[in-house]
């Protein structure tokens, strides 16, 4: 599997994960754009969602998500999250 394919799969997985973990019943995973903001506008998630999502990602990909600039950056969009996972899961 090439890196590019890997990333596409991961994007799809993370979108599904967001919908499942946060029980966003009215959101289709495919309707979330890769660069759509997760907080504030866009999906409009809040701090509790961030915690849940961080826990779900940690469980699924064994990636540590602690407080800090880098983690905050990772939560900007699905694309950023996937990049973060790819960087740290290795």
């Amino acid at each position: 599997m090439t890196t590019e394919e890997n990333r596409t799969t991961l994007l799809r997985e993370v979108k599904q994960l967001i919908v499942d973990a946060l029980q966003l019943d009215d959101v289709q995973p495919d309707s979330i754009a890769d660069d759509e903001p997760l907080f504030g506008t866009g999906l409009a998630l809040d701090s509790i969602d961030a915690l849940e999502l961080a826990m779900a990602i940690t469980r699924r990909y064994a990636v540590k998500m602690s407080q800090g600039e880098e983690t905050r950056d990772a939560f900007r969009s699905v694309g950023h999250l996937v990049d973060y996972i790819l960087l740290h899961a290795a």
Partner: protein
């Protein structure tokens, strides 16, 4: 130069006293050689203590609790009052004398004695006199006891007399006329009782003779006078009431000569003549700027800012001393971590109480709470709750923490990491915001603590306004399966609020009102977003904000 009305004078007096005390004490320490400087400073300290004693014990002082010391009547009426009864011998004789002179009076009875002689209490009322209360037991502890003890002492007596007369007495005389801070705290928790002191007293509770009692009272006989006498034996008093009984006919005669009618306080109350003097030193009551000439106003403002700054300094120094000296000593006592946390928290509450007393003595700020007693003090709560509140001022955290027995607060992680404040907050079980917040808060609830959370995450924007609510508090309550108690905090005039810098503190005293509104019991698995929006909406209604304010457009 505008004249100061009597209503405005206390604040200026206080300012003058503080300036004089500081100037004299500080100046003496600097300027005078040893030991004169110290001696003068000690003298000044004594004077200040004297001022406090005046505030607590003077029958006219409105400082800690509003009192009626004389009736505001224009009719030629006076009120004789008798404390510490009923006494089977003395009270009966007093009633006979009053009847012979066709005079009415008021009896402030002790609950325990009323319970022993209910027939006397009924006779007092049947003969047209007024019955008030004077605490259940009249013990020294009343002046120093906890708010709960004071409240019990007051309410027990009211219940006893109310039971005998099938009508709750509404007048109350504080023992020795003392309204200490301890008293004021407990008294505020009781149902609307009017506190009555006196404008003249016979000092007949101790051994004396009738001539002196008459002489003390006679010169104060004027319309509206309230005269304190005794028909029972009070705390530390003599058991001999012969002076009272001998003086009473002469006093009644003196009233008759002056054309003064002796009436019960209830008739004055119906007349609307029992009004407490101007209470506390609040800004709405004292439009200071309009009253004080400019030359005095700006020094006063500067001094005020200095006082606020000194409170900040005291708060931070206190926190450091408490964290590094007080808590380590406390930690020497054995106990499980939860017990130690409760113990530290109790000590923290005492410190906050002291801090509030300081702010109150400086006329800066006081808290008021009618219903905070909803959660009883002492042991870990058997049914912990999540407390949510709006956040109008910096002072409200200390107020809520010291009013509720077992509350830990969700604090910004920056404060918990702060080297000065952090240690204190960690030991007392405060929870920092961060990834572990939910887990930690649920853990605290399981340990039996109430958790206080300001869902706005910061102070409310302006007077009466609200920021957008975050749903963390609600998520925590749902996960822990505990009820949510809504608190409404109002600070009037606004002080130390989000948009108000320290030097713009109000002229008068800011009053923080803590009101327990209602309890919500969330269902397990309920969606915290919906609950959060519902509570946010409720707060908008409660604070009288327009229902279509921006916060409600926030999508759910």
């Amino acid at each position: 130069m505008p004249m100061l009305s009597p209503r405005q004078q206390p604040l200026l007096h206080a300012f003058a006293i503080k300036i004089a005390a500081l100037a004299a004490g500080g100046g003496a320490l600097v300027a005078l050689p040893w030991p004169w400087g110290v001696a003068v400073a000690a003298g000044v300290a004594l004077l200040t203590v004297g001022f406090l004693a005046h505030a607590i014990a003077h029958p006219r002082s409105q400082y800690f609790a509003p009192v009626v010391h004389r009736a505001t009547t224009t009719r030629r009426e006076v009120a004789l009052t008798f404390d510490d009864g009923p006494d089977p011998v003395v009270t009966a004789e007093v009633l006979d004398i009053l009847a012979a002179h066709r005079a009415r009076a008021t009896f402030f009875v002790l609950g325990e004695r009323a319970a022993l002689h209910p027939e006397l209490v009924r006779r007092i009322q049947a003969e047209g006199h007024t019955v008030g209360t004077h605490t259940q037991h009249h013990r020294m502890r009343f002046h120093f006891g906890s708010a709960g003890y004071v409240r019990r002492e007051i309410e027990d007596a009211v219940d006893v007399v109310g039971g005998i007369l099938s009508r709750r007495p509404s007048l109350f005389r504080p023992p020795h006329g003392v309204r200490s801070p301890c008293f004021a705290r407990g008294w505020r928790g009781t149902r609307a009782l009017t506190c009555v002191t006196w404008s003249a007293r016979g000092l007949d509770a101790r051994a004396t003779d009738a001539d002196r009692v008459v002489a003390r009272v006679e010169k104060h006989l004027a319309p509206g006078a309230i005269i304190a006498l005794h028909d029972g034996t009070g705390l530390g008093g003599s058991t001999d009431r012969s002076a009272t009984l001998a003086a009473l006919p002469r006093l009644l005669e003196a009233c008759r000569e002056r054309g003064l009618r002796c009436v019960g306080l209830d008739s004055l109350e119906r007349e609307g003549a029992l009004v407490p003097g101007p209470s506390a030193f609040e800004a709405e009551v004292f439009p200071l700027k309009a009253v004080l000439p400019g030359v005095l106003y700006w020094p006063f403002r500067a001094f005020r800012t200095l006082e606020v700054a000194s409170c900040f300094a005291a708060f931070w120094t206190g926190a450091v001393v408490f964290a590094w000296v007080g808590l380590p000593i406390l930690a020497l006592w054995p106990g499980s971590p939860a017990v130690k946390m409760h113990r530290s928290l109790r000590a923290l509450r005492r410190c906050f109480d002291a801090f509030h007393l300081m702010m109150r003595v400086l006329f800066l700020y006081r808290r008021e709470s009618g219903s905070a007693s909803a959660r009883s003090g002492g042991a870990p709560a058997s049914s912990p709750v999540v407390l949510v509140a709006n956040h109008p001022t910096l002072c409200d955290v200390t107020a809520v923490v010291s009013l509720f027995p077992n509350v830990v607060c969700l604090a910004r992680s920056a404060i918990v990491k702060n080297p000065l404040m952090g240690r204190l907050l960690r030991i007392c079980g405060f929870v920092p915001t961060g990834p572990a917040t939910l887990h930690d808060c649920v853990e605290r609830l399981r340990m039996g603590f109430d958790v206080l959370i300001f869902p706005e995450g910061t102070r409310s924007p302006r007077e009466g306004g609200l920021q957008i609510f975050h749903r963390g508090a609600f998520e925590i309550a749902i996960r822990a399966g505990v009820p949510i108690v809504l608190l409404k905090l109002t600070c009037r005039p606004p002080a130390l609020s989000k948009s108000l810098p320290m030097w713009r503190n109000p002229d008068g005293m800011a009053v923080l009102n803590v009101e327990v509104l209602e309890t919500i019991t969330p269902e397990r698995g309920q969606d915290s977003r919906t609950l959060c929006r519902a509570v946010e909406k409720r707060y908008h209604e409660l604070l009288g904000l327009v229902p279509d304010s921006p916060a409600l457009e926030y999508s759910t």
